[in-house]
Amino acid sequence: MSQNGSWYIVSALVENKPGVLFRITNLFRARNFNIDSITVGITEQPDLSRMTITTKSDEKTLDQLVKQLRKLIDVVEVKVLDTDKSVFRELALIKMKAVDPTTRSEIMNYASVFRGNIIDIGKETMTVEITGTPDKIDAFKSLVEQYGITQLARTGVSALPRGAEL
């Protein structure tokens, strides 16, 4: 599937029961849909999970992705979120080499500018927790790359429409 196109956030409410994630990811694989990230978690309703999928795709492919998702029996609702009218966040944990005091204080400065937290300090490493849009996390990552990132974990995007939007 096409690598170019725009970035979309697809939000789906799905049955909270075993096998649902499998059915969805199997659909993506079988139909060749490219997914950047996928997150799942419980919602205000105990029998429903919310799944947030981000994908870079052209409009035609996105249309198919949404329609094929809707076709799945376990998928209750699917929406493409308008990025201007929704809030979306990702969390990243970034561990980097930080031995000498200058490096350590530089990292602490960057982290505070990005409203991140230092959540772990070892003899030779520091771990920063940072939350924001994927762009913001990318920006932070490129700033600290110079110190040597030893491990990195990102959650993928979670999103909700703003205010009264449903």
Partner: protein, 559 residues
Amino acid sequence: MTGAKALIHALEKEGVDVVFGLPGGANLPIYDALVGANLRHVLVRHEQSAAHMADGYARIKRKAGVCFATSGPGATNIVTGLATAYADSSPVVAVTGQVPLAMIGKDAFQETDIIGISNPCTKYAFQPRTAVEIPETVKKAFYISESGRPGPVLVDIPKDVQQATADMHFPDLIKVRGYNPTTDADMSEIGRAVELLLKAERPIIMAGGGVILSGAFPELQALAELMMIPVVTTFKGKGAFPENHPLAMGPIGMHGHAEANKIILEADCILAVGARFSDRSVGRFDEFGKGMSIIHMDIDPAEIGKNKSVDVAIVGDVKSSLRTLVKWLSKKITKRDAEDPWLRRRKELIQYYQETIKDYPREITAKKSIKKLRELLPANAIATTEVGQCQMWASLHFDVITPGTFFSSTGLGTMGFGFPASIGAKAARPQVPVVDIAGDGSFNMTENSLAVSVLEKLPVIVFLMNNYMLGMVAQWQRTFYNRRYSGVHQHRCPDYVKIAEAYGAQGIRAQSMAELENAIKTALKSDVATVIDIPIDPDEDVYPFVAPGSSLKDMITGA
């Protein structure tokens, strides 16, 4: 009541009168519950055939066919059948046994993850974990399988769940939250379709499998006759419209009728009714329908714009959409008369190709045999096919007169489908003759169903176009690989008359048209299955032919 008993009772409540299957360790409780049940069990010789029989039954009854298999190899054996039904949107409910709950995930004997394996080829799969869930699960399985765009549904029941007892409640109504198929079309879209159709000078109807699935035969015919529009079909839609009708043009596509392929290129407006623009029917997506307006009627929103962008999309059951369309149009239409240039063009094309496409020069050929078969069968006989040249010859030369009496494995093209499916069709409608237009290679794959046909008194006719060759593959090797044959010869093995006789069926070899005529007449009178072995020349090709990846305009007619 045990889970197994609840299953059987739930099936009876769904009106199931026959199940096709084969037992094993993991579905013993189900087979025990079958004893004394109010439904017929047809024991198969291979589970793949059970699924095809259920599928053939479903295509004729237009309600779900049911098959049973045990866990592990029993379950994997039905997968080809499920994939076949899925590709052709056929309602099949398959019930498999599974190892006991506590053994799942332990690589138990005959454990297989059939839910995972069948996922891409089922509409849904259930695994009830308590006996009490079974009645509702069965109800949901039938609802999902038969409604909307139909398809196969699997119910995988662990053995201990079959054995457990519970107070059962059999619901009459169920709801599936995430599943709400559209049935009634959007009126504004129908309005736009009316405008396009009225404006069109050279409209054409392209009827697909959706018309057959919905049984919208009278509605389709009413529309065609109201507007006097020529009707082509997809191969899956073959017989959605009577092929002896003065507006009929037959199937389009890779092996479509030449006149159908030609006329659709000359149209200015295509009304696609329950068709999914498959590569086999339309050739190259980008070239098909260029410069024409396209109206697409389909029950599945995901089909809209999947292969082909269209001007107007009418999502809903074609039976109701067509009815509305006819109602709206009948107020506005002035009928095309027979002198209309578009209808004259239709006649011209048919005549042109009748004169140019030459017959293969032999005493007995596929074309002549199939035409003879049609001539001798009653109009309401059911025909199905195997896969390959035999199938395409059936498409080209077997005119379906009563709508909905022809079907084939079209989407998956499963060799070995036709014979067991014909037995399923016979179970669904025992009073009419059922014929499988077969190839030798395909028949080989499920010929052991002869035992089922004979023992269960479900006599069908196997009309074997015998070239002792995987003929369709051989044709491609002739055409695209400079006649380098590889892996296609069957070396005159086996003797099909003896095969038939070994099972207690009737085998007749027909080597001339006179012998063939007698054989067909004998078969029609017979109360056991008859295999008519018709030796044909292995070099006979199917024409017309549109090479894969080409446009319909690049059709080779062999003339």
